[in-house]
Amino acid sequence: MTLLVGILRVLAALGLMLANGVVLIYMLRKVLGRLHLRLGPTELGPAGMFQTTADVLKLLTKEDPTPTHVDKVLYFIAPAIVFVPSLAAYAALPFSSTWTIANLDLGLLYTFAILSLVPLGVVAAGWSSFNKWSLIGAMRAVASQVSYEVPMLLAALPPVMIAGSLNMGDIARAQDGFVWFWLPCLPAFLLFIMAGLIEVNQTPFDMSEADSELVAGYATEYSSMKFGLLFLAEFSNTFIFAALLVTLFLGGWNLPLIPDEILFGIGAPVIFLIKTYLVIFVFMWIRGTLPRVRIDQLLAFGWKVLLPLSLAWVMVTAVGVKLWPVLLGGVR
Amino acid sequence: MQPDATLISRVLADAGIAVSVEDQRVVGPVFRVPASDAPSALRALKESSHSYSFLVDLFGVDTGEAIDVVYHLRSYVFDEEVHLKVEHGYGSTLASVWELYPAALMPERECAEMFGLSLSGHPNPKRLLSTDAVPPLLLKSTLIRTAEEVRNR
């Protein structure tokens, strides 16, 4: 029985990820279209809705040529190394107080740990492709990962400290009735957004596949569904990161002024998804507007700005969390 | 715009270069110097008080007897332009002037390849526009198929 439930949960995560990918690609096209004074897909289905489905079918049925001289084993495994962590990261996301695929006590830590495997796959893809642009893209992925990962973890700490738990459900629950954490942790919130943009490879920081410099970066030599997997993982990472942002800083499934009991059931996951998609919309907005920073500017920004600021804010929060009960006269 | 022909001739003559002046109907005075003296003539013009430091263009003309390489210089100090012509025999060597005018780097390569000249003193004397085995295109002896010929084929 538990095995069956386990399998169902894995399937749920997979289904969610694939559906998300399809929806997000459609959304990206439509949002970028609006931002760029064009229409986006219009032909297939109402408002071009089935365009993405058709694209997935195309990717699945395309011939999959393997370039000569590639490191065959790594070349084949790399998309999986990118894809699997971003699939596994869905496990700990709290869609409501009861809806979560795996209720982990160390959920946040688990998510970060598993997401930090993604650049490994990117490096494998870039290294094995036997393409110099891919290699440069892979090296950039490493460089930017080293510089953003630490600030991102540090920026996620203040909400954890206030909530007193690494369980993501608990963190979201702690924001019910309390002010959402973006306000008490405003600097951490902004730092987390920036570090997250680097993590999901979004335009001001899309170093490893900077299209005007590196052609397509680590994905240059990939085609058909192997490329599809890399592509899908990228969108799924965007979703996971937006969901993390919602959980940590934007109250999870909560709505202001409405107590948790009323949201019980189907309402809460919908609110969670709507919030997540709104965050993704903001990302796409940024993506459609801003130019790209240079890799050395990004690294300097990561080490000289993001890291000290996030460290400082962790210390401020630590003091604040200790002082808070004292200030309230021991109420909490 | 058009320079004082006697002044330019004097500058060139002072540098010990045999110069002859052709008065063109539209372009104005065109100064002709021997091929061996071209770099020193350009140096004299560049270092003269008029400071012809800007190379507008460098190209060749196949006159039917030889190749005229035209150096088109401009002085931003006096706002004057000088055309310097140098006659090169077919298949001869074009001495690079890129140290005086870095702007000449690519035009020289193009000129050499288009007129079948060879380059000397050039840091990168490869062909610029075409690949090996393409004949020197701008020579009058290189024939191309005209539109009429294509039509009446």
Partner: protein, 402 residues
Amino acid sequence: MSDPRSIVSHAGWLTTEPPAEPVTLPASLKRAPSGVNELMTEHLVVNMGPQHPSTHGVLRVLLELDGEEVITGEAVVGYLHRGIEKLAEHRRYNAVGTLMDRGDYVTGIMNELAFALAAEKVAEIEVPRRADWLRVLLSELNRLASHLVWYGTMGLDAGAMGQFLYAVRDRENLLDILEDVTGQRMMFNYVRPGGVVNDITRTAEVKIHRFLKTIDRYLDEHDELLGGNEIFQGRMRGVGVISKEMAVAFGLTGANLRASGLSFDVRRDRPYSAYEEMKFDIPVAEEGDCYARYLVRMAEMRQSVRIIRQCIDGLPEGDFTAKVPKILRPPAGEAYAAVESARGELGVYLVSDGTENPYRMRYRPPALFALQAGEALLPGVMLADAVVILGSLDFVLGEIDR
């Protein structure tokens, strides 16, 4: 000591002496472990192009990279060579314009104008005043369209995508006007020796007036969207600095030259057509970096709008072309005519031998000289900067290769 290079500090550290010549290892030793080079690093030689997203045509840049840093760069051109100069020797004077269009395919009107001016000089043809004004009007419309393409691709090179489509929106209106007047969107074949092919149409005038109503607002929008962006400025400021001396030495013209602080514009200093009658300023910047080139071009677009306003308001009555024989046989002679195209001084040196075909037509491509300067700027910059530098110089490969 086999390798006397300093390990801790670089050569210019705490000294005003020029840095010592770097020791170059022979190629055979490059992989051998030495005391300093324990990582056995190698330089990476990559081909940027001919199929690369940001080479503006079919340019190939051979880059030697040390990590992200460019050691040397060599531009390899010729992929678009069509032999325009040779073909021109086999065309009648009226037909060469078709070839000129295909040189710099973004600024067709100005290319044709350069040839027409040279042919008129050598054949001593007087052009009617209305034709001159029409030429100026269309040139400026075309310059605006060309600068908009540059603005859009500049942003693409820097990684932004939105402004390209905004630029294309405005360019679309311009091409619409040009199509209305000339019948073509890019390969116009409109300016002929002696004048222009046909008069401006009534609908085109309406379209120009409509365009002029919105363009100022749109140009402000462009400026805010890209130029006001901090990331963009961070990418452009201080990158690819061309000093005045270097600009002159490498033969830069046009906006690239003016961004380095030398105010020379063919339209003002060698006035042709009706430019003497126009009022316009020549924007100049001193810094010589990519951002200066950006600012100069953006300011030039506003000046173009100014000239278009004057042209459309004061268009004189009269013929649009002089009486020119169908087969033009200019007397023997040589002529040089230059126009200020969107990329710089586009010159045509024409040699006539009295027959119906030009004896020799030399097309001076301003972009070729810009490319040389860009090539010289490459050593020592980051890979991402190389893309921005080449983009900021605004060359079109159709013109370089001819």
